[in-house]
C-alpha cells in the first residue's frame, strides 16, 4: 500500500536554528498538508499546498514557516528560527483528486532545546 514517508523520524535542534522536515507524498496525490501535534494535545492544521502554492494556512503558520515542493516529489516544511514551543510531532499528509481520505506519514518528532 502506498505510503507517505517522512524524514527524519526525530530531530533535536537548538533554539534559533533552522530545521527542514521532509516528506515524500504519495506519487499521484495532488494535495499536500502539514499538521502538528504538541504532546498531549490535538492535531492542528498548519498549511495546505496545491498546484505549487499554498492554498490555506493557519495562524500558527507565521513568517517563520515555509513550505516547498522543489522537485515534484519531496514536500518540505522549513522553520527558520526554531522556538521551544515549536517542539511537537509534525505530520505530512496527502490526498488525491476526490480528497477521499488523507494519508498521513509517521511524523517527525521535533525537539527544540
Amino acid at each position: 500500500e502506498p505510503e507517505v514517508t517522512q524524514t527524519p523520524s526525530h530531530q533535536v535542534t537548538q533554539m534559533g536554528q533552522e530545521v527542514i522536515l521532509r516528506c515524500v507524498p504519495i506519487s499521484n496525490h495532488l494535495y499536500f498538508y502539514w499538521y502538528r501535534q504538541i504532546l498531549g494535545q490535538k492535531v492542528e492544521f498548519l498549511v495546505s499546498f496545491y498546484n505549487n502554492e499554498i492554498s490555506e494556512k493557519s495562524e500558527i503558520f507565521d513568517d517563520q514557516f515555509s513550505v516547498e515542493r522543489p522537485d515534484g516529489s519531496n514536500f518540505t516544511l522549513k522553520i527558520r528560527s526554531t522556538k521551544l514551543e515549536d517542539s511537537a510531532m509534525y505530520f505530512c499528509a496527502s490526498t488525491g483528486q476526490g480528497k477521499y481520505g488523507y494519508t498521513f506519514g509517521s511524523g517527525t518528532r521535533l525537539t527544540v532545546v
Binding site: V43, F45, S48, S55, G101, F104
Partner: protein, 110 residues
C-alpha cells in the same frame, strides 16, 4: 464544545466487547473522518463518511453520522487488544483543512 470533540476521553474494555466513541462538531461539513493513532505514531485513516450518508461499515467498524445533531459515532465490534490506540474524528468544515478532535484513548485488555 469545540469542533470535533470526542467522548469519552478514555475507554477501557475487555477483548470481545464493543467500543463506542462519539464525536460532536459545530459547523457544516462535507465529510467526517475517523483516524487511529498508536502511541507516538502517525495517524491512520479508518473511514470517511460524507454529509449525505448516515451509516457506513468497514470490517469491524461502523460509523454513523447525524448532521441534524452534528454528531458521529464510531463502533468497534468484537474488540481486540491490538485495537488499543487513540481514536480521533476529523471534520473538514467545508474548507481545505481537517479539524481534529481531542480523541478517545481506547484500552482493550486481553
Amino acid at each position: 464544545s469545540q469542533q470535533g470533540e470526542e467522548d469519552p476521553q478514555a475507554l477501557s474494555i475487555q477483548e470481545g466487547e464493543n467500543a463506542t466513541m462519539n464525536c460532536s462538531y459545530k459547523t457544516s461539513i462535507n465529510n467526517l473522518q475517523w483516524y487511529r493513532q498508536n502511541s507516538g505514531r502517525g495517524l491512520v485513516h479508518l473511514i470517511l463518511i460524507r454529509s449525505n450518508e448516515r451509516e457506513k461499515h468497514s470490517g469491524r467498524l461502523r460509523v454513523t453520522l447525524d448532521t441534524s445533531k452534528k454528531s458521529s459515532s464510531l463502533l468497534i465490534t468484537a474488540s481486540r487488544a491490538a485495537d488499543t490506540a487513540s481514536y480521533f474524528c476529523a471534520t473538514d468544515e467545508r474548507t481545505d483543512k481537517l479539524i481534529f478532535g481531542t480523541g478517545t484513548r481506547l484500552q482493550v485488555f486481553p
